[in-house]
Amino acid sequence: MDFLFQSILNGILAGCIYALFAMGLTLIYGVLNFVNFAHGELIMWGAYFLYFLMGKPFGFPLPIALIPALLLTILLGIGMDRFVFKPLRTANRLTLLIAALGLSFLLRNGAQFLWGAELRTYGFEIKRGLRILGISITLNQVAIILTSIVCIVFVYLLFHRTRLGKSMRAVSDNLELARVMGIDSKHAIQFAWVIASVLAGVGGILLALDTNLQPGMGLINLVKAFAATLLGGVGNIWGALLGGIVIGLAENLGVLVISPGYKDAIAFGIMVLMLLIRPSALLGRQE
């Protein structure tokens, strides 16, 4: 039974990471109504920013480097919007999609240009996990689960308790009406990018702490995050969490049964099935 519980834990862990990524995706989708294919690169750059600040010549310790790394990620996110997506606000979907793909290419190879394709680590010592009820969990993993929950609660509170968050929801509900209220939609959109970038940065750093850094780390997880988004309902924060965990569990439990070579096909399979069975349910919005 241990291995089953351990697999469930693994599924939840993977799911938390997917959920963090999915929230960022869903946020931008909610406000701007497009799929940001370059979100994975935002994640990856978040992790690399931290690496950059922890390495020479800065050599900051993790807690100090964290804040500037997230700030840099935010800067990148806002830059993405300012220079790529803003000029394309009124463009059609295919144009936007291709531009986002281009951006993903640019940023991924940018990281490879600077740091090379090889794996890197933050250089922390590897520790054995704690054993609880026969399953093992490391402090990093506890941090991942806690941080994901904190992030989701934080985003939830932000959206439901602060004026800025509420106005973002208003913008995502009905942009024109929001303008009519005098809500600064540009500000709200920018803020959405800030939050999405923070989520991406945190997610990237956690992923890198748990595993390694490499330029492709965002892209390979983005597809899963995307499946999670679709599963949980686009624009729905709790849905992103639920979708992430369902995908994570399905993958990890699935591997116990089918050939692990098809691990990635599981997320795709779920996504395709969802789209085919209940295409309307995926829009996730009432009305």
Binding site: I98, F105, G261, F268, L276, P279
Partner: protein, 296 residues
């Protein structure tokens, strides 16, 4: 000269591949992000058959039929979806097909790939050398171009473009949008299959690594760069893009730079796409107004 011929063969195969995608993306407005699946399906079909000594004519036909059949099977459930969701389903399909190539070792030899695919013999003429193969691909490309031209300039093609422009209006004029889309998708898959078959018999070796999402993106770029919905767009796009990619080899930069150069090239690639989408989303060639050409 051999390199030149080689690049020409590659470019022409990509032209066929891009033309087939152009039919879907450019003319019918279907965002197919899993086009490489059909390229791969027929490359594998034809390779496996040829390795069993099936004559090229027959294995080509079966390969095309397989690509078309899978296109048909995929299109029935997925074409009911909205544009971008359709894109995601096809993307998923493409990846799953690649995983099948990779994992069904008993059938495809998995990651070992299939070596020794024979050069094609068509009506007892063997296309073995580079220039012979160039002729073969050129012939098929011309044939593809002509067939697609006849289809696209016909009333049938006119309906496809109408569906791209406004499916509701097309439906209100009595056109069965769903059927036309399926047909377009199947034809597109078929010609992607032709490109795949030619590819396999050219390199004589195929492996799952040849059929990644990156390939779909490359042809998509060719179509978009050249000018989607135009007859010559894929041709121009393939020339420009592959030329751009390969010309970097000739800059004779120090090998130490390669570590930087390869990502730099891809960065330029990505940047170019963004700039193109912002400043000239229609690509190099613009779709022009034209009357009906079928009648005269």
């Amino acid at each position: 000269m051999d390199l030149f011929l080689h690049l020409c063969v590659m470019i022409i195969i990509y032209i066929i591949f891009a033309m087939s995608l152009n039919l879907e993306v450019g003319y019918t407005g279907l965002f197919n992000f899993g086009h490489v699946a059909f390229f791969g399906i027929s490359a594998y079909t034809s390779a496996l058959l040829s390795l069993q000594q099936v004559p090229f004519e027959l294995s080509l036909l079966i390969a095309l039929a397989m690509a078309g059949l899978w296109g048909f099977l995929l299109s029935i459930p997925s074409l009911r979806l909205r544009g971008d969701y359709f894109g995601i389903v096809t993307l998923g399909f493409g990846e799953i097909i690649r995983m099948v190539f990779q994992n069904e070792v008993w059938f495809t030899k998995g990651p070992m790939g299939l070596p020794g695919i024979p050069k094609p013999i068509l009506f007892s003429y063997r296309f073995a050398t580079l220039s012979q193969y160039l002729l073969l691909t050129l012939g098929f490309a011309a044939l593809t171009f002509l067939i697609l031209r006849i289809i696209l300039r016909s009333p049938f093609g006119r309906v496809l473009r109408a569906i791209r422009e406004d499916e509701v209006a097309a439906e209100a004029l009595g056109k069965n949008v769903f059927f036309f889309r399926i047909k377009s998708f199947v034809i597109g898959s078929l010609f992607a299959g032709l490109a795949g078959t030619l590819w396999g018999h050219y390199t004589t070796f195929i492996s799952p690594g040849d059929f990644t999402l990156l390939e779909t993106i490359l042809v998509l770029l060719i179509v978009v760069l050249g000018g989607k919905g135009t007859e010559w767009g894929p041709v121009l796009g393939a020339f420009v893009l592959i030329f751009f990619q390969e010309s970097l080899r000739f800059l004779r930069l120090p090998a130490e730079w390669t570590r930087y150069l390869a990502p730099l090239q891809q960065m330029i690639f990505g940047g170019l796409l963004i700039v193109l989408m912002i400043f000239r989303p229609e690509g190099l060639l613009k779709e022009k107004g034209r009357g009906s050409n079928a009648g005269n």
